[in-house]
């Protein structure tokens, strides 16, 4: 591609994030745990405060001014998010607490009513627990069978195996767009196309992709897509499910209560139209409104520019880490094929010891199984260390990481 992409002004961006001015153990914070959650720019915090200081009210049904303003703000973000996803219908967007709830909603409301024993759900070996456990629970309830696409040595999905595993029995293919451990970006369009040809639904776990690259929900060709606001500069407590409206229309609500009904009798009830039907009770209005500010911030920075920045930083980090002896670095070689997530493993130093040592230098990385225990087993390690980047990270963060790692190796070695 020869589209010219504005370079990020990382220095200016950093000044928008109050927490980056913080010290940890006497060092400037170097936050490299973005796959777990991201930091919030001032604009998001301002939006949150403004909502509560000026407009706070319960939404829908209210006639008074605050109720109207709150409803407009809340529904406005739904529309805004529809544009962000490439121009999808707002009524196909359901706000949840997080990606996890969105996936559970798909399992209970959409897949469960149409699946039985003998049917199969196709997952992958690189899924996050959030895209494994709901299906394990569903399989137990329905007798459906779980299959898993294996991964190759360099941490990609084995597509030949996928083609074999995808059969007429497959009712759903649910997989991550980008792995939160390996960084691998999966070929969504190819997978979705084959699944569609077999008549299987597709659910994309976009928790690690939407924050970091342009994503057009319809172009990808999937039926359903889930992500979390807190991983894309927004507040905790908001996630969303996008689905083809026809699918959501048939859905059996997972949660019942206020807001989602049309008519309630003591012994029976009918449901409201989309999307209210799938949002029971008072929604997280304040955080959804603030999430709108996060979307604005991301688009102002430019998703393509964010992606380019992360590719560059990841390339640099891979190069430096690969130069260290006896360090296993996971995932595809080419930074163009991966997100800004890098997991590595060093025989001589336990990931938690490394994380503690780096923390004493102000560097925040994650150590552990990253909610992907089956993948850890596949990799043959109990845990890995993981650094993950975002738009406010810079080469100096990578340098500090590598320096800290070398120090730790010499300390324990």
């Amino acid at each position: 591609m020869s589209v010219s992409i504005e370079r990020l002004d990382v220095r200016r961006i950093r000044s928008d994030f109050p927490i980056l001015g913080r010290e940890v153990h006497g060092h400037a914070l170097r936050y490299l745990d973005n796959a777990a959650t991201t930091q919030k720019p001032r604009a998001v915090l301002d939006a949150l405060r403004d909502y509560y200081e000026r407009h706070n009210s319960n939404v829908h049904r209210g006639v008074h001014t605050l109720a109207q303003e709150a409803t407009e703000a809340y529904e406005g973000v739904r529309t805004r998010l529809g544009r962000f996803l490439g121009g999808v219908e707002p009524r196909g967007i359901v706000f949840t607490r997080n990606t996890t709830e969105a996936i559970n909603l798909v399992a209970r409301s959409i897949v469960e009513p149409r699946i039985g024993s003998g049917d199969e759900i196709l997952l992958t070996e690189m899924e996050h627990h959030s895209n494994l456990v709901p299906w394990i629970q569903l399989a137990k309830r329905t007798g459906a069978r779980l299959r898993h696409v294996p991964i190759t040595e360099d941490g990609r999905l084995d597509l030949d195996a996928f083609d074999d595993l995808l059969t007429d029995r497959t009712k759903l293919v649910a997989f991550a767009h980008a792995s939160n451990v390996l960084g691998t970006i999966n070929p969504v369009e190819r997978i979705a196309e084959r699944a569609r040809a077999k008549g299987a639904l597709t659910l994309l776990d976009a928790a690690q992709s939407i924050p970091h690259m342009p994503v057009d929900a319809r172009e990808l060709g999937v039926d359903l897509l889930a992500a979390s606001a807190h991983k894309m500069l927004g507040p905790t407590g908001v996630g969303f499910l996008w689905g083809r409206p026809e699918l959501l229309e048939e859905a059996e609500p997972m949660l019942g209560g206020g807001e989602m009904i049309l008519e309630v009798h003591l012994d029976r009830a009918t449901w409201a139209d989309l999307p209210q039907k799938l949002e029971a009770g008072t929604p997280n209005v304040g955080d959804v409104v603030a999430f709108g500010a996060a979307l604005n911030y991301l688009e102002a920075a430019g998703l393509a520019a964010i992606r380019a920045h992360e590719v560059e930083l990841t390339g640099y980090a891979l190069e430096r880490l690969r130069s260290l002896e006896n360090l296993r670095v996971y995932g595809p070689e080419d930074p163009e094929h991966r997100s800004g997530v890098i997991s590595f493993y060093d025989e001589t130093i336990h990931p938690h010891d490394l994380a503690t040592m780096l923390d004493l230098r102000g560097i925040a990385i994650r150590a552990g199984h990253h909610c992907a225990q089956p993948l850890m087993r596949r990799l043959g390690v109990p845990a890995t260390s993981r650094a993950s980047f975002y738009l406010y990270n810079e080469r100096a963060d990578v340098d500090a990481l590598v320096e800290g790692l070398e120090e730790a190796r010499s300390y324990f070695g």
Binding site: H27, P382, A383
Partner: protein, 166 residues
Amino acid sequence: MDRSFGQLDDLYREVVLDHYRSPRGRDPISEPACRHEGVNPLCGDEVELAVRLEEDRIADVQLRTRGCAISVASGSMLAEMLPGMTLDEVGRLGDRFREILHGSNGDGTDDEEDLGDLEALRGVSQFPVRIKCALLPWVTLREAIRACKEGLRSPERATSTEEDSP
């Protein structure tokens, strides 16, 4: 950049690193032993522990830790110190160890347990999430001893869910 290892050395004292690099208690012990496998749910790390009792004394301990420097060192110290101690003494030592991990300095009286090498793990109290690491072998030991008392001899797998804070 600050190159002193100040706080780091508080956590990983030389004696801790020494136990980590060459952990004691790895030799198989003779039967009958009571076994338990403990897991730290924070990280998934594991200790396989076997203990042989003679009356109310610990005769032998064997353990295999798949874990961090803190858990390995703590287990190694345990293996070194316990053989020969009565169960009562072990109980008091464990209690005292928990106390210093939770930041208590003791009441300064003379009859406090001598912590031996465990003293070197005092720095862990400044790293609350790592307290579970230091306790992992102890929790596993407690379960193994309980197994002995209940007459169980076969290995059991269970999880150490001891809280790391009061």
